[in-house]
Structures are given as structure tokens and as C-alpha cells.
Symmetry: C2
């Protein structure tokens, strides 16, 4: 007897991808359980055959259901979408059992709303909308979700599934099994989601095992070549910048396929300006790089999330183009960062020679132990020790600034999103109707049979056509200017979303140092430890200041550039319309 | 014991006019019943004293209620608002008793929807919204009602009541008492409203008494000096045009008052280019002129309605300005018409010497018997007799054209109204929000304390302010261009609304002539009568053709002019914005 399954959620197939669209409640006949990658092959009642994400169905025979269902697929890995999704489904359907996220540990964090947002990749938002697979997302409006802070829910494993399952498993087996929320109390990124998203914990080995005291009290052991210098520049503490800035081009997306052509993926060509030799990477590889950078630098340097794993589907080409543009933006930002761009793992990503080189480098990076707060062991400020009061003031100042900027950026995104909708929707429609109304009147006039009518009607028709052209100009304009303004602000929204975590590490460290006397009194630490801690929190502050100065300098550059571009294009836009109207005007006879 | 009254409808006082705002259900104490003009003086519960329209209240003691209430005020006259309003209240509250307007007599009229619209003055729409005194009418959007064909309901006797009550009564006493709908069947203007608005009947003595056969079979008696010539011009039959075109300026509205200063009205100064001597006229006088012209020429020449008696109230100045502008438009159109401008009554209106001269002229005009279809007795085409087939073809052609143009004009009004709303509402609001968002971000940036920040923030603030300026430009633009486009189309809508009646007379005449043989056979007319009728329907056709040619020539001129003005202002608008943005752009540093 054939194996049957019931569909739990609607799923829309990506065209040309051998997938099968299914509807909640539908019954399928399973034809192949051994596809792997979270997919099964099934047939619907109309006899149509195709791939369906196995998390979207529930077997109605023999096969055990979730959570044990995980065992029927290849063992889920950290990078495997299916596994986390199972977890997220649990969350969505048992809200009462999920601890109130971000509340217990967020007392001193004014941005608590965010903490579910800037998590690595796009995992933490999965639970928020497990069924919203197609809700109003349109390629013409890429910010439909942006301004609401709800990246589109994951639609089902699309072009990005994992060929590295085995490797991910390896990594995972060396991970952590505890579900504690960490001691520091400020590391919400992993901690706050401990119950709802165990996987996240594995991403932050340094964070979840302990708070900033791991660094504050450790024996510093960073090797010479890993040292990160901080100098006193004109604007204050600054990272050490390279003489020539690293840059790279992300281009030429190509479709590849695997599983005997059953599944496809997109590979991007990444060419650094140092070697000028292209390397190929899939989204998954970028995601891996992101995880490594976050692990290693996240306590000192805000590492912005990768572009969301967006809805794929009807507008595949536009989606690929958009993702590439955003990966380019992300890579450019990483290249511009003196610490990130100089790191071994980032260099590996850009310049690996062959498969073997890549795999070796990857394993080494995954074994890197200077991660989490331990990154501060490598930082050497060439500056006098800092007073705790000043450390705290700086920290507060950056916290206030980034929060305020986040509000400002979100305001622009909201307003820009509204404007985008108007410019691509009702406004051009209105200009079109004006154009049509002129032309209609003109054709009525033409029917008058009155002598000399054409002097008016030719001009009136031309004016009507001009307004139709204006309609098109209006509709196309946002792609030429607002798009970049939105992209820049969207990027900054992501970047600013990382600051609460980064600043949280600093606040936790400051709190620890403030407890110094008490800890000495209760013999938890020695008086020497207390001195060390005070010195180290100063080192952390220099790192934060260097990072803020880096941020400010980039911000000024970015906003200057994007505003110039925006205004330039706006000027062109209005001038083009004026010229068209002047031309239309000239066609009317002077009477 | 004081006389009390209950308020039936909300009424908003016109400021500075001794009126009292009252609310439905409120109880008032009557302090003076003998004010007259449809007003009573009353005091509210807060002790405030003022004038209230008596139709808005219901006496709770002794005084009989409507319709007998009319007897407590000076005898209502044709021009007296209160009387008609009583009628309209009846209609509104007894809809079942009102005959379905425009249905019985409109069989051969494709524009039946309109026939309640272009009635003389603004009387016929009163019944449509007796309570809608303040519904969404705003001075900033003068077309709020235009595109829906519902002039705002009458709000209460405002600046326009009547000092000529006695004279109107005189005229009325010589009027017609029958309530028949006319024989012709095509003269819906008066006829269709017979039951709901008896007053209208009195305006169409020629129409209501008989159909076009009155002319077709009459003995022509027009005197030499009244003859209206039609020549064959390049474009076909044309009226005889004067060498210099009459023109006039309507200006300088001044508030006058009467009833011992209790009530006020507006007087406009009208100065013709022939005498260059100003005469004063109130709206009521224009309305009288309109009635005379309609009576005299309406069968041959579409006489557009005067601007509606709009809502007065909060925006009195704007209202007066708008009404003046529209009276100017109406007068200009009348001046431009060779037949109308040359008529005795029109000349009287523009050039009366003194009160006595005016009164004498007025009485003479009111006694004019060459009205209705009899106007055709004065028309002498210098052209060969016309074939009935051709007469009918021309008539059909003009009917089609004016109907089609009416559709086109209404489309522009609808679209323009939408555009007006967008340009004065959501669009500038959006630009303002964009401007604010830029400025907010700029002020966040200013707080960074980072060196060299002001290069960016000064420019960003300026850009923000520029968008606020653009918001204002956008909001103010419609008054500079769309306004005139709308006014012109609105005027044409009114003018086109008269064609069904004018063309209807011709159609009825054609039908009569077609019946010729039958009428001869049944001895209703002589064979000679039949020949005369055929010749006279040709004369009517020449008049219609001359009128259409006049219409076409004016139309081409008007649309050419208004389109040029519109496009010119649009060009300026877009150029101004482009220049402002270019200036904003230049403030950003080149990096």
C-alpha cells in the first residue's frame, strides 16, 4: 500500500525546479522518501509529481511525526533549514511554552524589541510567520517587509540547500549540549533564544559558556600575528587601516544543480581586487563566512546579517539580481573593515586556490578558539589606560547614538516605503488617466468635422501622450533613486541592529568591573584580578571607540554618496518631465 | 410665556452676519418673528442671540407649522430662497410622492441623467441633500461636488436674499398657473420638475405652453431691428459677428446690507469695454439676466447656468472670489456671443444709466413676447432652403458630438478632481515626511560628536528643508494650473448640459414636420402649412449650425488657451523643483 501524507501548510513551487505546489489539507502519495536535503518526492490527486519540503507534510502511515521525523531525513545540520523549522513550528503552535523572549535578560537594554531581529542569518524570525509564504511580497516592492522589521518568513527550502551536510555535522558534534542562557545576562543573541532555538547556542560558543569575565580574567595568549592594533588618530582611537583598501566584485550568478539535476542553486563569482582571480561561492558559503565572522568578531565589531533568505518564486531573476546586489553590499562593507578584511577566514573566502585549500581552511576556521569575548585578548591599544567612568560614558554615548540613528533610519525606511508604493501605484495610474482623458477629448474633437480642428487635436493628443510618458517615468523613477536610498538605509538598519549585542558585551563587562570590590571582598577574585579587569575593560572601550569611529567615517561617506546620487537622479527626473512638457506646450498654436 | 422653537437641522452661522449657529434638537426662544426674508431672531439656552433661517426650526407653540408657515414671513417670491426650500423639504421627506423625475418625458433624450442638473439657477438640486450643510465642502477643493453632479445643498439664506420681492411678485402674478409638462415632450428643463418645483414652470412661458409648432405654424411678426442674420461663412452657417467684440470686467465685490444692517449681500462691479463705466449688480441680478436670456434664446442658443449658489460660511472670502471668477467667466462667454451680447436685455444689464432706467428696462424685458421657440421668427438665414434629411443629419451629428464631448469633459473633471485631492492631500504630506525624515536623521548625526560631521549634516538638513518646500509647491500647484483646466471644463460641462434641451427643440420640430402628411390628411394643417413648416425647420437648422460653429470656434480657442496655460505652469512647476533639488545637491561635498 502506498505511503500517504497530509499537507500541513500551503507551499508554492518555484517554477522550473521540479517542485510541486500543495495546499493545506491535501493528501499526497509519497513516491520517493530518499531525495534528501529536506525534500521528498510526492504525487497529488491529479497525478502531478514533484518535490515537496518534508516539513510541510505529515505522514499518515507508519512514519513517526515531528519531532522524531527528523530521523527520516539525513541528519539535520546547523545549516539545514528543515531542522530549525521543525523547532519554529513548535514555537508557533505552543506559544505559552515559549519563555517571554528578551525580557529576563534585557533590563539594561533599551532596544529589547530588536533582539529577536539581528540574529545570524534569518533563523530567529522563522517562528513569527510560519504560514506567510506569499503574503504580499512583490519583486516590484523589495521593501514590502523591510519597514516592518519582519523579514519574510521562510518559504520552504528553495535554491539554497546544503551540499555540506556532512561537514556541518562534524562541526556540530563538537558543540555544546547545555541549554543555559549564559552568565553575562547581556548576550541575548544566543541566550534569549535558548529555549526556542537551541541551534543558536552552538553559534556562540564563547557567549553561551560565559560572560565577558571569560576575557576579563583570562590569561592572555594571543599570538603576535593575530594582534589587532588601535592607534590614536585625529578623531580618537582608530583601527589600523591598510594602505590599499580591499575590494571585491560579486557578479555573474550561475545556476548549478545537484541531486541528479533534481535541485538547483545559484553560484556567484567573487573577484577580489588583490588577486583579480574569481572564486565561486553559493549563498550557503556566504552564510558560513558570516557565522565565522560573527563568532570571531561579534563582541567587538557589529557583523551585519546577510541579506535575508527571501521568498523565491515568480520573479526569480529579479530575486537573484537583488540578492547579488545585497551580497555585494555586504562584501563591500566587510572589505572596507580593516579588522575583518585582514582576517584569515575572510582572506580564505576571497582567495582560496582549490577545493582542498578551501576545505582545509574551513576546518581550521571552525576550530578557531579566539572567538566571542576572547577577541579582546588580541587587541592592543597604543594608548593610556582608561578610567571606568569614561569607559561607561563612551559606552552610553554610543548606545544612545546608535539607538537614535536606528529610529531615524527606520523612519526613512517607513516613509520611503510609502513613497515607493505611491510612486509605483496610484500616482502613475493617475498620470495615465490624465493622459487618456486628454487623448479621449482630442478624439472627440476630431469628430467635430470643424475646419482647422487638427491644430488643437494634434497638440492635445501629444499632451495626452506626454502624460502617459510621465506616468511611466514616475513609475520607473524609484528604481533609479529611491532604491539606493532604501538599500543604504536598509543596510544600516541591519548594521545598527547588531549594536545592541556588541554594546551589551561592553555593558556586561562594565557591570562586572563595578562589582570588583565586592568580588574581592568575597574572595571570588584577587585584588590583582580586579586591576586586570579594570585595564581590560579599557581595552574593550578602545576597541568600541575604534569601531564607532570606523562606523562614523563610513556612515558619513555612505550617506553623502547616497544622498548625492538620490538628488542627482531626482533633478534629472524633474528636468526630464519639464522638458517633455515644454515640448508638449510648444505644439499648441499661439492664438 | 416666551415663544419656543425646536431646531430641525444643524445650521452654521456665517461669521459677521448676525447669524446664530444651532444644532438639531436644540430648543430656542423666539425673540423676533418679524425680521422677514425667511429669518427669525432667536436666543439659545446660553443666552446667545442671532438670526436663524425659519425653515430650520419648528415652533413648539401656537404658530402653525409648514407649509402654512410661509404666511408668517413676507410673501415668498420666486427669488426667495425660503419658499423653495420649504418645497424641497417636502420632497426630501416624502420621496414616494415625488414623481420619478425625467422619466416620462425623456424617451428620446439620451442625456436624461442631466436634466435635473442644468436647471436655471440652482433650484432643482435643492431636494437632493437638505441636511448636507457642511458635508466635506472645503474652499481648497472647489470641485468636491463638481464631478459628482451634486452641487452642495443650500445651506440657509446667506448673502443672497432679495430686495426686489415686490417686483418678483408682480412678475409672478402675470405668470402661468397650469402645472402641465408641456406638449413638446422635449422641454424637460421646466416640465420634468413640474410637480416638485412649480416655480420652474414660470420661467419657461414659451416652453410650457406649447411645443415647437408654435413657431412652425405662426405668422411671423418679428420687427426689422430684432432680426438675427445668419451668413454662409467658410465653416458653414455663422451668426453675424460684431466688428469689435464686447467684453466686460467683473470686479471689486463689496458688502452691502439691508434690513437695518441685519442682513448683508455682495455687490459686484461690472464694467463693459464699450462704455468703460461700471455698473453694480448683485448675484440676484445676474440670476435675473440669466432667466431672461434663457427665456428668450434658450431654444436656439444654449445659455449656461450661472455658478451655483454655493455653500457660504467659513471661507467667505474664498467663496466670493470663486463666485466672482465664475461670474466673470459666464459674462465673458455671454459677451462673446454675437446674438446674446447684442440683445437689448444684455445691453441694459451692462449699461443702465440709473435706477429708473434699470427698472424700466427690466419691466420691458420681462414683457418681451419673443421668447421660447418664437426666437426663430427673428432668424433670417441668407441661404437656400434645407432638405429635411440634411436637417436631421445635422441635428443627430451635433447631438452625438455634444454627448461625446460631455463624456470627455466629465472624464477630465473626474480625473482632475482625483488629482487635485492627491496633490493637496497625501502627496505633499509625503514630501513633508520625507523632508522631516532627512532632517531628523541629520540631527541624530549632529549628535555623534564626530569630527567633520557638519559637512554632511548641513547638506542633509538643507535637503530635508528642500523636500518640505517641494511639499508646499506641490500643494499650491493645483491652484496655479489644474484650477483653470477644471474651471474651463466645468464651464463646458455646464454649457454642454444645455444642449439636450436646445437640441430637443430641434428634434421635436423635425418630428412635427415628419408628421406633415398625416396632419394634412387629417386636416389638422393645410398643405401650405406643411410647406411653411419644412422651410422653418430649415431656418431652425441654420440657427443650430450657426450656434455649433460658434461653439466649435470658441471651444478650440478655449481649450488651446487653457492647455497652454496648464502646460506652461506645469513646466514652471517641474523646473522650480529641479532647480531646488539641484541647489540641495550642490551642498553635498564631493568625496
Amino acid at each position: 500500500m502506498a505511503l500517504k501524507a497530509k499537507v500541513l501548510y500551503d507551499f508554492t513551487a518555484e517554477p522550473g525546479n521540479n517542485e510541486l505546489s500543495v495546499t493545506e489539507g491535501e493528501t499526497l502519495t509519497i513516491t520517493n522518501q530518499n531525495i534528501g536535503g529536506g525534500w521528498i518526492e510526492a504525487q497529488n490527486s491529479r497525478g502531478e509529481l514533484g518535490l515537496v519540503p518534508e516539513d510541510y507534510i505529515e505522514f499518515t502511515k507508519a512514519i513517526p511525526s515531528f519531532p522524531a521525523a527528523g530521523t527520516t531525513a539525513p541528519t539535520p545540520s546547523v545549516g539545514n533549514v528543515a531542522h530549525s523549522e521543525i523547532q519554529s513550528l513548535f514555537d508557533a503552535y505552543a506559544p505559552a511554552s515559549v519563555p517571554a523572549q528578551n525580557q529576563a535578560s534585557n533590563g539594561n537594554d533599551p532596544w529589547s524589541v530588536w533582539n529577536s531581529d539581528p540574529s545570524g542569518g534569518s533563523n530567529s524570525n522563522w517562528a513569527s510567520n510560519p504560514e506567510g509564504t506569499q503574503t504580499g511580497k512583490s519583486a516590484a516592492d523589495p521593501w514590502a517587509s523591510v519597514s516592518h522589521g519582519h523579514p519574510q518568513a521562510y518559504q520552504g527550502p528553495g535554491a539554497e540547500d546544503d551540499e555540506w551536510d556532512d561537514e556541518w555535522d562534524e562541526m556540530k558534534s563538537g558543540g555544546y549540549t547545555e541549554s543555559e542562557t549564559g552568565d553575562g545576562g547581556a548576550m541575548q543573541r544566543g541566550g534569549a533564544h535558548a529555549t526556542s532555538m537551541k541551534i543558536s547556542l552552538n553559534k556562540f560558543p564563547g557567549f553561551s559558556k560565559s560572560g565577558p569575565e571569560l576575557y576579563l580574567l583570562c590569561k592572555q595568549t594571543a599570538k603576535g600575528k593575530d594582534k589587532l592594533s588601535i592607534y590614536m588618530g585625529e578623531v580618537g582611537p582608530v583601527w589600523s587601516y591598510p594602505e590599499t583598501q580591499l575590494d571585491c566584485v560579486v557578479a555573474d550568478p550561475k545556476k548549478g544543480s545537484k541531486m541528479y539535476g533534481l535541485k538547483s542553486y545559484i553560484e556567484y563569482q567573487v573577484t577580489p581586487n588583490t588577486t583579480n582571480r574569481p572564486v565561486n561561492h553559493r549563498y550557503k558559503h556566504f552564510d558560513w563566512l558570516y557565522e565565522r565572522l560573527l563568532d570571531k568578531f561579534g563582541s567587538a565589531i557589529p557583523i551585519p546579517s546577510l541579506p535575508d533568505k527571501q521568498v523565491t518564486g515568480r520573479f526569480e531573476e529579479e530575486f537573484i539580481k537583488m540578492r547579488m546586489e545585497r551580497l555585494q553590499g555586504w562584501m563591500t562593507r566587510m572589505c572596507r573593515h580593516p579588522v575583518v578584511s585582514d582576517s584569515e577566514v575572510f582572506q580564505l573566502f576571497l582567495t582560496y586556490k582549490d577545493e582542498k585549500d578551501w576545505k582545509m581552511g574551513k576546518r581550521k576556521a571552525e576550530k578557531d578558539e579566539t572567538v566571542g569575548v576572547m577577541i579582546f585578548t588580541t587587541i592592543e591599544p597604543e594608548a593610556p589606560d582608561m578610567d571606568l567612568v569614561e569607559v561607561e560614558q563612551k559606552c552610553e554615548q554610543f548606545s544612545r547614538f546608535t539607538k537614535a540613528m536606528d529610529d531615524g533610519v527606520k523612519e526613512i525606511l517607513t516613509v520611503g516605503h510609502e513613497h515607493w508604493k505611491r510612486c509605483t501605484g496610484p500616482l502613475p495610474k493617475e498620470y495615465q488617466r490624465i493622459g487618456k482623458a486628454f487623448q479621449n477629448l482630442s478624439s472627440v474633437f476630431t469628430s467635430s468635422g470643424y475646419q482647422g480642428e487638427s491644430t488643437l487635436t494634434d497638440a492635445l493628443t501629444a499632451a495626452g501622450k506626454t502624460y502617459e510618458e510621465i506616468a511611466q517615468l514616475v513609475a520607473e523613477q524609484p528604481k533609479k533613486d529611491l532604491h539606493f536610498l532604501m538599500e543604504t538605509n536598509n543596510e544600516y538598519k541591519g548594521l545598527l541592529g547588531c549594536f545592541p549585542d556588541t554594546i551589551g558585551v561592553h555593558k556586561a563587562a562594565i557591570d562586572k568591573v563595578k562589582e570588583g570590590d565586592k568580588l574581592v571582598a568575597t574572595s571570588k577574585i584577587t585584588p590583582q584580578d580586579k586591576v586586570t579587569m579594570a585595564k581590560r575593560v579599557g581595552t574593550m572601550s578602545y576597541a568600541l571607540q575604534a569601531e564607532m569611529n570606523h562606523f562614523h567615517s563610513n556612515r558619513i561617506y555612505d550617506y553623502n554618496r547616497v544622498m548625492q546620487l538620490y538628488l542627482e537622479e531626482q533633478v534629472k527626473f524633474y528636468e526630464t518631465i519639464a522638458a517633455k512638457l515644454r515640448q508638449a506646450h510648444s505644439q499648441f498654436a499661439t492664438m
